[in-house]
Amino acid sequence: MSLSFTDYLAQVKGQIREISVQELREGQSDPALTIIDVREPEEHENGVIEGSELCPRGYLELRVENIQPERDKPIAILCQGGTRSALAAHSIMNLGYTDVTSVRGGMGAWSRAGYPIEQRRRLSKEDLARYSRQIILPQLGEAGQQKLLDAKVLLVGAGGLGSPTALYLAAGGVGTLGIIDNDIVDTSNLQRQVLHTEELEGTPKVESAVATLKRINSSINIKTYNERLSSANVMEIFKGYDVVVDGTDNFPTRYLINDACVMLDIPNVHGSIYHFDGQATIFNHAEGPCYRCLYPEPPPPELAPSCAEAGVLGAICGVVGTIQAVETVKLLTGIGDTLEGRLVSFDALDMSFRELKVRRDPNCLVCSPDPEITELIDYEQFCAVTF
């Protein structure tokens, strides 16, 4: 015997649980609840519910395991009027989900109740295609890609570390990349500074960087600063960036970056290399430590040779610079456990990665509750460097 649709719907509704929009509103702040909006993309143009996952009905069974892999976690399904969501809830219960509800009245009832609606921009077709391999990652998704496109990241140094970081952040669609470097491309850079090419030897590194990055991704904004970072310009330059990536090569600039990031409350993604060793961590993020908590003082200049004096294996820069790129993406999108409070200590010779705890120093001169240093200082003098 065949059923009419009305009978079928009544039968389905008898087998699922419905909640009101009031109940959904109350549950919205519960991080354990996954809200899946099963409407079609064009229906999202009038707005969506904050925190909801957008997955058209036709893709639901294919994607639900990526959206919520755990079968016993609560899921609320939403459509425009409450019919498609009922059918969708029934369908994923057949997949073994045990705590599924359908929102009665759907988005229409939500709007009529006057609850907040978020306008979510849709990625362009070009962006969806370009970034598809990372958008498909359930932790990132379209929302994570949008965060990257909206983000502003400043790279200090377009050298060994800055090169791989810039390549991956540009390719991955960080919407605005700032690059500060006052050096020019030299033959001896090409062994490790993979942003730069033979053709552009002798040109400023920031120009060479733009030329390379635009060939990889012409859709992002790149801002360049062909100057040396100093106490005089750092605040003006850093202001407005979401993340600063430290890929510089000297202690005065590292302390300058740290202090400015603490004063402006910007996370500082740190990487440093020497010979076959590398270090990476995140400073000044989520109540974590700053650079001075880890290293209260710089070594004297005779114990702090640069790469030019000490040498560095080119590929080491790739290892550490890409760790910085990964951590930057995690910071911007809020996924995973970022490196604050942990120092990755990398030794290429025995290929070991050690994880060391970095604690906030309660007596830190710059990030303690009652800091001694509240303004930028003379960093060359602090590091006893003579230029």
Binding site: G157, G159, G160, L161, G162, D183, N189, Q193, D246, G247, T248, D249, N250, F251, R254, G271, S272, I273, Y274, H275, F276, D277, Q279, L294, Y295, P296, E297, P298, P299, L303, A304, S306, C307, A310, V312, C317, L343, S345, D347, L349, D350, R354, E355, L356, K357, V358, R359
Partner: protein
Amino acid sequence: MAVNIKIPASLRKFVGGKDTVAVEGENVREALDGLETAHPGIKAKLCDDNGNVRRFINIYANAEDIRFLENLDTSLAEGAEVQIVPAIAGGR
């Protein structure tokens, strides 16, 4: 206690190029003294004239910074790893 001290690249020239040196010591101080006995001259790179660890060098015992433990008196178990972690600045 037999413990291993992990030497960073920047200090390997003081220990004959080794990346790890095995020494005896009940605590970090004794381990560093053992390192100095085996490779005279290295302790001055790590500690100042008063015997305190220099502020641009961190010493870790089993992945914890000894500044937040008992400093040089931090005791070590058999097979413990002591890692010397200096500030390094390279990036370009």
